[in-house]
Point group: C2
Chain length 208, copies 2
DNA sequence: TAGATTGTTAATCGATTAACAATC
DNA sequence: TAGATTGTTAATCGATTAACAATC
């Protein structure tokens, strides 16, 4: 697939559609119109139809959308039909929480390695994966077909580790460090800046 | 402050400006022009000036912006000059990680209580705050001037707990559950949907 | 066939960028 | 004063919404 030029706004909405369609599917609902979905999701029916039509016609006039079919198609668009091996870098609070959170595995994101620079953590088991020294990272990524690295370390270390990862041909970085990473264009970076999120919440309180 | 009608896009960018200005301040830089900042942040100088001018004129012609002054002003806009008491609901992996993560405290977000429904966790200390039964939540929020609740529990429980929190006059919910909460307009909800984020990353890999 | 609802084009709205006069 | 750079207006661009013909 290489339908370029799909806007970030559309892509950002796909996981939410996927979530709602999953719920509908779980409740045994077979079909849904853009109008009904629009009421549930509080977006316009027009937007829903426009969004889906970026990827081709998934609906049928007079009928609407088949829930299961649309759900599966969105999964494919999001690449959820492909398994990914990942490593977690940083076995602190957040790194451990992510390692222990197994829902990602259900979607095909498999934790293969966990790395930390603190020797006290070496060998610690987190869901059967044991923490290794940072020195092993480069080798491990190369040898184990790893395509995603999760950065759960402080910002200085994150910048430096990102460079290492780039040189190991990682495909994507899920960045929890409070810093913007400068990597080549062909590497995907998805940021989760928790402190930014908390500041937006703070703004909301101050200006509500 | 009640400058309404500032777009979400602008608000979403403020924490990033704040981060860069903090870094500049830490490196002892006194002034910065929109052009120089634009190069660092990879946005247009025009956008920077437009964004700041939503809140009044912080710069000076021929000079640029004073870093420290601008940093402090953005802090005020974001409401970071006000302390907030918060409770964490859910002492699982994520709840514990958030409770142990002390950087929030530095910005004035103080963890006052942690709640869980699992009796095995009652009394467990996380940075001197001990886990309490969920039954105590309503009372605690009312008695301790709590204005933010962090939801780190599964989605079914989150929906239900959000209702409780609304009835306790909470001001804001930082929602880590994979569900959209339906609360009155005067309550701020800031979502951190980690699985949505991971799906966007997955899309990036699939379509890069 | 009649009714419903999509897919898609056209209209509107809002956000971003460019340009430049104001001014430090 | 001359040079630099903001604040702000105007132009452009892109995203959202509305409308409706196509079609199931």
């Amino acid at each position: 697939m290489d339908n370029r030029a799909i806007s970030q706004a559309v892509i950002a909405r796909l996981p939410r559609y996927y979530r709602y369609l999953g719920d509908l599917k779980d409740s045994g609902i077979e079909r849904i119109s853009s109008q009904d979905l629009s009421k549930m999701m509080k977006v316009t029916a027009s937007q829903i139809r426009q969004d889906f039509n970026n990827f081709g016609g998934f609906g049928q006039q007079g009928y609407g959308y088949n829930v299961e079919y649309l759900y599966d198609e969105i999964a494919k668009i999001l690449g959820l039909n492909v398994r990914h091996n990942l490593v977690i870098i940083g076995a602190g609070n957040l790194g451990q929480a992510l390692a222990n959170y197994m829902n990602f595995e259900r979607r095909g994101f498999i934790v293969r390695g966990i790395f930390d620079k603190n020797p006290a953590l070496y060998g610690k088991q987190l869901r059967k994966v044991s923490v290794q020294p940072m020195e092993n990272l480069r080798r491990f990524v190369a040898d184990n077909d790893i395509d995603i690295a999760v950065l759960a370390i402080p910002k200085e270390a994150a910048v430096q580790t990102a460079e290492t990862l780039v040189s190991c041909n990682i495909k994507a970085i899920w960045n929890f460090a409070h810093v913007d990473l400068n990597v080549p264009d062909n590497i995907v970076v998805e940021n989760v800046h928790l402190s930014d999120s908390l500041m937006r919440l703070s703004y909301g309180i101050a200006n509500m």
